[in-house]
């Protein structure tokens, strides 16, 4: 058994966002090669937004990724506002938080039900589940639709939101809209409880590897998603302006892909990292869900990222309801509605400078970094995507995991590796806009 030869080549991993391959080579029981290759076509977003106004960046960078378009929108707006010294109003902040909750919820539901669940039920996709687990499929589609409906009320649609721009919102919800959103959220609670029940009954692969976990940390007492410093489970705390110290991109000899590491060989971002750093700040109902799901205070099994996502879903619903209650109590100030127009009349003062946005999006910490000239036109841009930060960590997981499961059949090993990659919910369309790309032809 220890002299086993194994060659695994998964071309275009399915049920992940974007195009990636897994390549593993074991000779006489020794792991020679183990890579997660990113083979997405590059789209050059950082290059393309040079020469365009800061106020337009959000519209373009939202298009990096459909599934995280709210996340990119919010990181982009934050970077632009940071560069222009614009401070958003408390009302704007609340609405942005609500919007971000809806995206995290929507994305996690998609991942839990459509991307991960088929593996746990030994089928190839949700399609066979329409017959065998009809209630679960309907629940997933219903939850997703609800998130989308709420985004539609708030910003016109979820994918490439229309009304969220630099400075605030081009339309604001009416009191009836606020009630409607609350009603939809309340109707989701039962489905969310059933989701927790479903996950409780499923068996996830057992594999522990502690790594450095990185997520936003903040002193506001909230589970930090929209604001904060960069925190590490190894005790470091770094202002977002110094994000490059954390990402530390480096080149590995086996690939032209750039990886990231901080103080260890690799680090992880995402739901699990957020939970490990900030779990104590989750809504009580979410904490109860974590207990029900048997999660410890610190989770080091990467396969359980999916389970932690469900806990975050519960939090997002509860915290959204709290935000809505607050908005209802204070009342919406409609004079804050922003008139769009890419500053044709020069109403928003522009200046030269640099701005950084750091936002927790469904898959982890996202950075947008823009430098603009005195006309507010972008001269330099950089986006660091969560999946880029996770690729190196996934490879380190695989290196530890493969020798342990080498006694299994090739099909079983392949499935466990695919499930590992899927657990991180990689968003490869996003990651291909930066350096983590290798072409295998």
């Amino acid at each position: 058994m220890s002299n086993k030869d194994l060659n695994i080549n998964v071309e275009y991993i399915t049920r992940v966002e974007g195009h990636g391959n897994i390549e593993v080579d074991v000779r006489k029981g020794i792991l020679k090669k183990c890579q997660l290759q990113i083979v997405e076509s590059p789209r050059f977003f950082e290059g393309m937004i040079r020469g365009r106004p800061l106020l337009e960046a959000q519209h373009i960078t939202a298009r990096i990724c459909g599934i995280c378009s709210v996340g990119h929108t919010l990181a982009s707006i934050q970077a632009a506002e940071n560069a222009l010294s614009i401070i958003p109003s408390p009302q704007t902040e609340k609405l942005r938080k609500l919007l971000l909750h809806m995206e995290i919820l929507d994305s996690h539901i998609l991942h839990i039900y459509l991307l991960v669940l088929p593996d746990l039920l030994s089928v190839k996709s949700f399609v066979p589940l329409i017959k065998t687990n009809n209630a679960a499929v309907r629940r997933a589609l219903r939850l997703k639709k609800h998130c989308n409906d709420i985004c539609e009320i708030l910003v016109g649609r979820h994918i490439h939101p229309i009304s969220a721009i630099v400075g605030g919102f081009t339309k604001l919800p009416s009191p009836a809209d606020i009630d409607m959103i609350a009603e939809i959220l309340l109707s989701m609670k039962k489905d969310m409880e059933d989701t927790v029940e479903l996950l409780k009954g499923l068996k996830f692969p057992v594999f522990e590897r502690e790594t450095e976990y990185i997520a936003l940390v903040d002193d506001s007492g909230e589970y930090p998603l929209l604001h904060g410093d960069i925190g590490s489970s190894d005790g470091y705390r770094i202002p977002k302006e110094n994000y490059k110290e954390v990402c530390n991109e480096f080149i590995v000899s086996h690939s032209s892909a750039k990886h990231t590491k901080h103080h260890r060989d690799s680090y992880a971002v995402g739901a699990l990292a957020r939970y490990n750093l900030n779990g104590y700040l989750l809504h009580e109902t979410a904490k109860t869900a974590a207990d029900t799901l048997g999660l410890k205070q610190k989770v080091t099994n990467p396969y359980l990222n999916t389970v932690v996502q469900a806990v975050e879903c519960v939090h997002c619903i509860e915290d959204s309801l709290a935000i809505l209650k607050n908005l209802k109590d204070t009342g919406i100030r409609y004079d804050e509605e922003i008139v769009v127009g890419l500053n044709e009349k020069g109403i928003i003062p522009v200046k030269a400078g640099q701005g950084i946005g750091a936002v927790e999006v469904p898959r982890g910490l996202l950075f947008h970094d823009y430098t603009a000239d005195s006309n507010g036109v972008i001269t330099d841009a950089n986006c660091v995507i969560p999946t880029n930060q996770n690729v190196n960590n996934i490879e380190h997981d695989m290196k530890l995991l493969i020798p342990r499961i080498l006694y299994k059949s090739e099909d079983e090993i392949r499935l466990l590796l695919e499930m590992l990659v899927r657990a991180y919910d990689p968003c490869i369309s996003c990651s291909a806009h930066f350096l983590d790309v290798r072409f295998v032809r």
Binding site: P118, V127, G156, H160, I162, E337
Partner: protein, 248 residues
């Protein structure tokens, strides 16, 4: 009769248009009653090598590998549907075409730039014939349903060829030019129910230009409201660079 076999494919894009389909909610199950989805990499592990009744394609063609892949897909499908601005008009991917290809590769991928094969971004119809177009960034779900129905009934679908303004008026929006804001509605194809303007934003031209735009009318509007041509051109290039290059 067997249900028609359809497959979804994606090229350079954000995959947001396929998510628009996932957002149909439980209605998606009704659609799946009518068709047999045999391949859809983002949500299915099943693969299909045989002939297809219809291929639904998202994304732009941006490298030589993609050129070959789209040709192969065309060979095995009876009907090709391009959906989303990236596939139908090149969309935001076209913005890279106005940069020097060597320079932009070096800017983003530094010393590794040579590993990244790239060609000017193109719409799907620049390489192969396309039978149905669903424009927009992202697609407007009611229009997608209309197109799908047409495909299943075996009839053609004609993309509206009048300006967004027409729908915008019916939605009783105040014209943005009246508010001193420039909007691409007057030259952009309708069919989205003036989605962005209804939500307080402007039209960015994501559905492409009407075939026979009222050029003089547009120039008059710009003159009346004192908008510089360069300003509107730069905005127009956000989605329409690929078309612009082709028209010249």
């Amino acid at each position: 009769m067997d249900k028609p076999k359809i497959a979804f494919f994606d090229f350079a894009c954000c995959e947001g248009c396929q998510l628009q389909i996932a957002n149909f909610g439980e209605a998606l199950l009704d659609i799946l009653e009518l068709v047999d989805v045999v391949e859809f990499r983002e949500v299915m592990s099943e693969r299909w090598d045989g002939l297809l009744d219809a291929a639904i394609v998202e994304g732009s063609i941006t490298d030589n590998h993609a050129v070959e892949r789209i040709k192969k897909i065309r060979q095995k499908c009876k009907i090709m549907i391009a959906y989303g601005a990236c596939a139908t008009i090149g969309g935001v991917n076209g913005m890279k075409n106005s940069h020097d290809p060597g320079e932009i590769r070096r800017y983003v991928y530094k010393e590794h730039y040579e590993s990244f094969d790239t060609i000017p971004a193109m719409a799907v119809s620049d390489i192969v014939s396309v039978d149905y177009f669903v424009h927009g960034c992202p697609i407007y779900p009611p229009e997608f349903i209309k197109v799908l129905k047409s495909v299943l009934l075996g009839i053609s679908y004609t993309v509206p060829d009048h300006a967004v303004c027409q729908e915008c008026k019916l939605n009783e929006n105040v014209c943005l030019f009246e508010k001193g804001i420039t909007c691409l509605g007057p030259i952009t194809r309708a069919g989205c129910n003036s989605w962005c303007i209804n939500n307080g934003n402007i039209c960015y031209g994501c559905r492409g230009m009407v075939k026979n735009p009222n050029r003089q009318g547009a120039v008059d509007v710009l003159k009346k409201y004192g908008v510089k041509l360069q300003f509107i051109k730069s905005r127009f290039m956000m989605y329409n660079t690929c078309r612009e290059l082709k028209n010249e």
